[in-house]
């Protein structure tokens, strides 16, 4: 797959704050890449640098191999969808969607403009809305029009800045699944900014997890979730129990406390200073188990979320979050219940201590 977007050592400072440092990224044609991170991590700044709305202090932006680092947005042949939609309020739906085609100037023919506009309006399922005013549309409809407007000029790259975050929860879920369909049908390379890890996991071919202006990890949703590279990624993407401890000399076990020593699936790197365990990996039983990493715990708190119940469990003085699917026949977790739990060694993800220190330093 050819590379549509390449970022080389992008850096940006605001005063004394490093908004972005050493950003390297390649985005393949047709792929959906998410920039995921908490607010202030630099993801929107990076998206604006790709768009040309902001210029980096150093580094290079290449679009389809072409150097565009200092080009203005209108010379980049990309489109952007904004969190607040940013539709043109003084134009109707048709003129909004046709704007990019008219500006790019490639299509002078009125018939072809009309054809392309109705094509993209069909794609976002608002075919009958061409003559509506923007003020007559709901939030969800406005966001669809914003997407149609961005797709109409057939951009080489589609940028989206938290496009779903202004929508109601229900509409957001609908739009999320539809967004993926639209992107696939339009076959447009997409860079998507979000702080919502579920959104990133559901939509992306690849996720770029960002923290404090740096890339913490790049990978598929499954890679990011099951093999987080550091403590930040483990903590930010999904729920995780993060336990600090001391490796034994043979590197095969980690001592969290005197009483809790966890057996690892394989020898861990010597730098390991903590481990991450996903709640769903912890196996619950009604009877004591003899397998490795089996413990007895007491439920301290429970949170019912519908399909499952999360519980905080005290295991020899350590707090562990675990979950139970609310299926008929499964024991309902409740406060005070004694449970027998097993942590499969393969489910324990060692985390290096490097990020540890830096996280603490930054906090």
């Amino acid at each position: 797959m050819p590379t549509v977007l390449a970022l080389r050592a992008i850096a940006k400072r605001y005063g004394s704050i490093d908004a972005l440092t050493g950003i390297d990224l390649d985005v393949e044609s047709g792929s959906f890449v998410s920039l995921l991170g908490p607010s202030g991590c630099g993801k929107t700044t990076l998206l604006r640098i790709i768009a040309g709305i902001l210029l980096p202090d150093s580094g290079e932006v290449l679009l389809s191999g072409r150097q565009v680092t200092n080009d203005p947005p209108f010379a980049r042949n990309l489109s952007m969808v904004f969190q607040d939609y940013a539709l043109f309020p003084h134009m109707n739906v048709f003129d909004n969607v046709a704007f990019g085609i008219r500006m790019r100037g490639s299509v002078e023919d009125k018939k072809r403009i009309t054809q392309r506009v109705s094509e993209v309006l069909e794609l976002v399922q608002l075919g009958a809305f061409a003559t509506r005013q923007i003020s007559e549309l709901s939030g969800g409809q406005q966001q669809r029009i914003a997407i149609a407007r961005a797709l109409a000029p057939r951009p080489t790259l589609l940028l989206m800045d938290e496009p779903l975050s202004n929508l109601d929860a229900k509409v957001r879920d609908e739009m999320r699944s539809e967004l993926k369909d639209i992107q696939r049908k339009a076959a447009v390379t997409t860079v998507y900014v979000t702080h919502d890890q579920e959104e990133a996991l559901a939509l992306s071919d690849r996720i770029v997890v960002m923290s404090h202006g740096r890339i913490a990890q790049i990978g598929t949703a499954a890679e990011i979730y099951s093999a987080p590279r550091d403590r930040f990624v483990a903590d930010f993407v999904g729920k995780a129990n993060i336990l600090e401890g001391q490796l034994t000399p043979d590197l095969r076990r980690i001592a969290i406390t005197d009483k809790v020593v966890l057996e690892l699936g394989e020898a861990a790197p010597g730098s390991t200073a903590a481990v991450a365990i996903r709640p769903e990996q912890i196996i619950l039983s009604n009877t004591p188990q003899s397998a490795a990493n089996s413990f007895t715990g007491i439920i301290q708190r429970e949170t019912f979320v519908g399909a499952m119940t999360y519980a905080e469990c005290d295991v020899c003085g350590i707090r562990l979050t675990l979950l139970s699917v609310n299926r008929i026949g499964n024991n309902q977790l409740r406060v005070g219940l004694r449970v027998y739990l097993t942590i499969p060694p393969a489910a324990i993800r060692p985390l290096p201590n490097t990020e540890f220190l830096t996280q603490r330093d930054r906090a």
């Binding site: 209108f74 042949n77 607040d84 940013a86 539709l87 990019g100």
Partner: protein
């Protein structure tokens, strides 16, 4: 629509309008009195009788000189309103989109400072620019556009200049207020869609500023049709505006009846025209 002033626990409506109401009441009382006086023939009470007449209005409207000055005054209002709105728009854009806060504050301050200078001082300052020995002539002669200096004073040009100079700060503040509220992402969106800087301005930014630009023009018009000081000093005897004629009736003839009738005519004509303009603009904008 939610009527924000009527939510339970809102201040009493009457109390809200009372302070300004007290201030405005004498104005409307005086206007009513002027309306009444406009039908009185002066000198009044000569034999203890008040003569009611329409002659004041005949003179105010149909006298060819008065009519010419009325047209000139309306023209001044329209020209100054349009000119100041056009001149103010780029400046408002510059203020609202200043990259730094201190630059923005400096520009606003520079806009407001003329308000703090006495109106007479400002207008006299302009005479030193427009006069035969003035700065404008100095420039024009030196870049050889004219051979000999000639005074620009006592002309329509001088009055338009002076009045625009007076009105532009209002226009800047009005347009800046709206511009600052506009979502900048809309311009970014246009830019990413391929629009160059001028296209972004004319196709996206400017159309959203029209309401403020029109308001600014309307205020410039209102301030100019009632202009008195600027035409008095820069227009002189040769180039009077309607307000100056009203003043003359009172000051030199003591004819309050004619002055009142002329004031009423100016008020009605200028308000009617402003309303017509508003309707026309709404029809064009409404499509």
């Amino acid at each position: 629509m939610i009527d924000a002033s009527r939510f339970p626990g809102a201040p009493r409506y009457g109390l809200l309008v009372l302070p300004a109401g007290i201030l405005f009441a004498p104005f409307y009382a005086a206007m009513t009195l002027i309306g009444a006086i406009s039908f009185v023939e002066y000198p009044a009470l000569r034999d203890g009788i008040i003569n009611i007449t329409l002659n004041n209005y005949e003179l105010a409207l149909l006298d060819s000189f008065n009519f010419e000055v009325l047209l000139r005054t309306i023209r001044l209002g329209l020209v100054v309103g349009a000119l100041s709105a056009v001149l103010a728009t780029p400046m408002a854009y510059g203020i609202a989109r200043a990259s730094r806060r201190d630059l923005q504050l400096t520009l606003i301050l520079l806009t407001i400072i003329p308000f703090l200078v006495n109106a007479l001082v400002r207008v006299f300052a302009l005479t030193t620019v427009l006069g035969r020995e003035g700065f404008l002539n100095f420039v024009l002669v030196n870049i050889r556009i004219v051979d000999r200096p000639s005074s620009f004073l006592r002309s329509e040009f001088a009055v338009v200049m002076g009045q625009t100079y007076f009105v532009v700060p209002f226009a800047i503040l009005i347009i800046t207020a709206l511009m600052a509220k506009l979502n900048e992402n809309i311009e970014h969106a246009a830019s990413t869609l391929g629009a160059g800087p001028w296209q972004v301005f004319f196709k996206v930014t400017l159309p959203r500023l029209y309401p403020a630009i029109f308001s600014a023009g309307l205020i410039g018009y209102a301030l100019s049709v009632s202009a008195f000081v600027v035409p008095l000093i820069l227009g002189g005897d040769q180039y009077k505006m309607y307000s100056n004629l009203i003043f003359d009736q009172v000051a030199f003839r003591g004819d309050f009846g004619r002055a009142a009738a002329m004031a009423v005519v100016l008020l009605i004509v200028s308000v009617a025209l402003a309303e017509l303009l508003r309707l026309a603009v709404r029809r064009i904008a409404g499509r």
